[in-house]
């Protein structure tokens, strides 16, 4: 069998395993093992695996990722997400669609603690969505806002994907973080502007008149 055909077959096996709900890591592991065994044999693979768990896990370069995740969890458990959303709604509350803008602002602020989009979206949603629902924001606007706001998590430093890219491509992590800062802020302002335009053009998605401060301290302490 030619190497190219073999590669394509192994690739197909990997994608096939992924498609049938095999954990992605295991699909890649299986594909790699098959390739190793067919090209080099079982003993080289077994010998290679002896030190691989250690070599992959105990990597100083990548140790920044669990530490970022730990930081994000401490921040979430410490109630920072609630405080951020309270602050953001106090700033934005006077505008039409203010709570949606506040959710974007809170996502951006949380992105400065957390390096993952999924974690940012999940954290801010748990605080912001009930509040937006309570004040009569439509499901379309609030969920769309929170999904878009979540993407700020990886743009605004720290960012796990940027760290991985920097390590793989041997780039300077600090420079990459600095480079992502401005696009992140532009995206945040753009999302807010889009919300402001949308709630004015398309009626019925946000409450007409916001009564001063929407997010009261009682709601925050629930």
């Amino acid at each position: 069998m030619s190497p190219l055909l073999l590669t394509l077959m192994i690739f197909a096996i990997m994608l096939g395993l992924m498609a049938i709900r095999t954990p992605i890591a295991i699909a890649m592991f299986t594909a790699g093992c098959i390739g190793y065994v067919t090209q080099a044999g079982w003993s080289p693979l077994a010998n290679f695996l002896n030190s691989q768990a250690f070599a992959r896990f105990a990597s100083y370069d990548l140790s920044v990722i669990p530490l970022f995740i730990l930081m994000g969890h401490f921040a979430t458990q410490g109630g920072i997400s609630k405080a951020l959303f309270r602050f953001a709604s106090a700033v934005m509350g006077r505008f039409k669609g203010g709570l949606a803008m506040a959710a974007v602002l809170a996502s951006a602020a949380f992105g400065a603690i957390c390096g993952s989009s999924v974690a940012t979206a999940a954290t801010i949603t748990s605080v912001a969505l009930p509040e937006m629902k309570r004040h009569g924001y439509s499901g379309r606007l609030s969920t769309g806002t929170l999904a878009a706001g979540g993407t700020l998590g990886i743009l605004i430093p720290p960012s796990v994907p940027l760290v991985i890219y920097a390590i793989l491509a041997e780039q300077n992590i600090a420079k990459l973080f600095a480079a992502a800062m401005i696009p992140g802020l532009i995206a945040m302002l753009g999302y807010m502007a889009a919300i402001a335009v949308y709630v004015r053009l398309v009626p019925g998605h946000a409450p007409e008149q916001n009564t001063c401060l929407l997010y009261t301290s009682d709601a925050a302490d629930e």
């Binding site: 250690f54 896990f57 990597s59 140790s63 669990p66």
Partner: protein, 158 residues
Amino acid sequence: MKTLELLAKACAVIGGGLLTLITLMTCASLIGRNTVGITLAGDFELTGVAAGAAIALFLPLCQVRRGNIIVDFFTSNAAASTTAALDRFGALLLAIAMALMAWRSTLGGLNAYTTHSGTMMLGFPEWVVYACIAPALALTAMIALAQAVQGSGEDVQP
């Protein structure tokens, strides 16, 4: 499964404690380096090996909660029984892979112990890390095997 779950939680708590300790250690080392000029030589090595041990110790709980990332896009319309069967197959494959890794890591750890291999600066013995990795991988394999045999029963969190 209950016992395995308890063990997984204990592993994760140890891992979290390890990460917290290493964070504090790095803070102390950095503050010392930038103020009074006293630093812990080789602090980055300790961070690396502790993070490695912690990641391995988190794996069992990850498997208990079925936290490994899967693609559910293609099977979103399939019947619940089909996805359950596929999940069992995935858990079985994961159990085999983890058992393989646990076995090989044990051998690697024994090798590291007999050859006294350590980190560069501190000479921190690598077998200590292997001693965290191998049991955690074995526990993950057992949990995955239990999930493959039992399926997603009531005692498995969604």
